[in-house]
Structure formats: C-alpha cells, structure tokens
C-alpha cells in the first residue's frame, strides 16, 4: 500500500515532467507514457526491487527525450533558417581566417556583428519573401533586390559610395532603401506592385549622385575630382541596373502568375 502511494507520487511528478513536451506531443503520448512509467514501477514493486534508481533513470531518459523532441521540432520548423545561419557562419569564417594570415584584413567584434546581422537579415528576408513566390523569376527578382540592398548598406558602412563613409551625402542611400521598403509594403509582395517599387527604387538610386552634385557643387578642376565623380556615377549605375533588373523580373513574374499566398492583383 505504501509502495502504491510512492508510485502515485512518482507518477504525479512524472506527469509534470511530461508537460515539458510540446502540446501536440503531450496530448498524443502523455497518457501512454504515464501508464508505461507506472507499469514499470508496479512490476518492480511486485518483484520487491527498489524504485528510486529506476525512477531516476526514467526521469533522466525522459528529459533527454524532451530535449530531443524539441530539437527535432526546431530543426524541422526552422530548417532553412538554420541553413542560412550556417552559411553566414561559413562566410564570416573567411575574414576571420584572412586575419590570421594578413594585416590587410582587420575586423573587430563590431564588424563581425554588423556583417552577421546584415547577412542574416538579408537571408531571413529572402526566406520569408521567397515563400510567397510563385515563379523562378519572382524568386530571382527578390534575390537581386536583396543583394543590391545588402551591398548598398555594406559599401556605405565600409567606405561610402560618395567620398568617404563620413560623407553625409551617403545618408541619401538610406532614403533609396526606404523607397524600396515603403514600395514593397504598399505592393504587399504582389509582383506587379513589386516591379513598380523596384523601378521607383532604381530612380531614387539614380537621383542620389545628381542631388549630391547639385547640393555639394564639387569643383571639377582637378583630374582626380573628375574621375572620382565618374566613379561615383559608375558604381551608382551598377546599383541602378540591379534594381531595374529586379523590377523587370518582377514584371515577368507578374505576367506568369500570382505568387502563392499573395493577394490577387487589384
């Protein structure tokens, strides 16, 4: 009788442990596991074998099971996000390794953190938006737009597109990204709207060096200043082309189909 009382007490604790499983898992197997736990203890009690060692073993074993089930759930649900994180870790290994062999690469913790956050943000955005895609053109368009946005931020933080990274004119490029973000939210990921948003982004990108030229009025007396200006326009046009290419692909996607999960074109 005293033994049955102990078994019921252990069962009560075991039931609490089982609550650590996910709700669907607990609802499906919780009762069966509790019964099995009790059955094992009753068998031992009948054979007059001590319970505490077995209880401890089953608690440890079940705790390992809880951890394993949660890990499996996380890996399954966030498989692509884990892949992105691993890819970023590999990318960040490049500068880390380079630092061991050359003094040309000098990254501090903040550099790694910013690069990691930027890469992860870009990858995550792609993953979330690509889920909505209905065609390869749409997916490639998202990839190009995100790659261009990433490079724009990266280059501006690292060296600055206009002059140096300290040149305030570079802040206008964050306005370019704002145009893209606002356009995307208005378009709600619908391909035709996305095409318009990316055309607007390309236009904003093209206007930045022109506005900078009007406001700053840099002298072009020296050859160095002239080539610098041409360089800014040249690099800028690469981004313009990337945004235009993305817009064109969104337009192609709009002609093909409506992305899954996106609302039909109005």
């Amino acid at each position: 009788m005293a033994c049955e009382h102990s078994i019921q007490r252990y069962r009560h604790w075991y039931a609490k442990l089982l609550r650590l499983y996910s709700k669907p898992y607990y609802e499906r197997f919780g009762e069966g596991m509790e019964q099995t736990f009790t059955d094992v203890l009753r068998e031992r009690a009948e054979k007059e074998i001590g319970l505490s060692g077995c209880v401890l073993w089953m608690f440890v074993e079940t705790t390992a099971g809880v951890i394993k089930e949660h890990m499996t759930f996380i890996i399954r649900r966030h498989k692509n996000i884990i892949r992105i994180a691993l890819a970023i870790a590999l990318i960040l290994l490049v500068p880390l390794l380079a630092m061991q062999f050359t003094d040309e690469v000098v990254w501090d913790l903040a550099d790694f953190a910013v690069a990691g956050a930027l890469l992860f943000g870009t990858g995550l955005t792609y993953e979330l938006v690509a889920r909505k895609m209905g065609s390869i053109a749409y997916r490639v368009a998202v990839g190009i737009a995100l790659a261009a946005a990433f490079l724009l931020v990266w280059v501006n933080l690292a060296v600055g597109l206009i002059g140096s990274e300290d040149n305030p004119a570079n802040l206008m490029y964050f306005g370019v990204l704002s145009v893209g973000i606002i356009g995307t939210s208005i378009a709600r990921f619908r391909p035709r709207g996305m095409a318009r948003a990316l055309f607007a982004t390309a236009l904003a990108q093209a206007l930045v060096p022109v506005i900078a030229l009007i406001i700053r009025k840099p002298g072009v007396a020296s050859m160095e200043a002239f080539t610098g200006m041409v360089g800014v326009f040249g690099v800028n046009s690469v981004f313009v082309l990337l945004f235009l290419g993305s817009a064109g692909l969104f337009r192609t996607a709009a002609g093909e189909q409506t992305p899954a999960g996106a609302e039909p074109e109005g």
Binding site: F29, D39, V40, M58
Partner: protein
C-alpha cells in the same frame, strides 16, 4: 517513395519495436517488456526513447494505433495499442535480410564471435 522507406536501414530502437509488434498488437509497456525479452535483457528502453520512436514510426507509416482498450492482464486503465503496418512488415523483412547477408559475409570471413579473439 513507400518502397524507399521500406528499404531504408532502421535504427536499433525501431528494429526492436517492429520485432515486438510483428507477432501481435501491444501497448507501450507491452512493447517495452517484449523488447527486453527479445534482446535477452540487453536493450532496456525507457518511455522517452520508446514513445519518441513510436511517434516517428507512426509518422513514417511503419506502425498504426488501434483503439484504446483495457489489458485484461493489467489494471483497468484503457491503453493505446500499436500494430505493425504492411510497410512496417516490409521494412522489418528488409532489415532482417540485411542482417542475414551481414552474418553470411561474417561467416565467410570466419568472423563469428567464437572465432574472434577479443581484446587482442
């Protein structure tokens, strides 16, 4: 696809559970006892491993759940019984065949436990 599943190698836990269910439907504790008996006490599966494996086997279609019922040899609690499916039978047969082939190779190479000098 189902054919692939039936041919893929099984984990030791899954193999033992399929073996236990190959003769009749059993509930969790019944499976646990049968696994222990089949392995001559070498495999002692706890509820965490057992139900984790059962969950994956149900998902893979190797086993199925029967209606809850009382085990006449035990208390009056109603229990879920598990039964092997056709796919589970095929997977078990394929795994046993792999073991048989392995033993044949070991015999040809005279690598049976009686002929091996362990620890040398």
């Amino acid at each position: 696809m189902a054919k692939d599943k039936a041919r893929s190698p099984l984990t030791p836990a899954v193999l033992h559970i399929l073996l236990a269910l190959s003769t009749k439907e059993r509930h969790g504790y019944g499976i646990m006892k049968q696994v222990k008996a089949d392995s001559q006490g070498k495999v002692n599966m706890g509820p965490g491993t057992l139900y984790g494996s059962l969950g994956r086997m149900l998902e893979a279609g190797l086993i199925d759940e029967s209606n809850k019922r009382v085990d006449p040899e035990m208390d009056d609690e109603r229990r879920v019984y598990y039964k092997i499916t056709g796919l589970g039978n095929k997977a078990l047969a394929a795994e046993l065949e792999r073991y048989r082939e392995l033993v044949t190779v070991a015999k040809q190479k005279r690598l049976l436990p009686s002929t091996l000098a362990y620890g040398v």
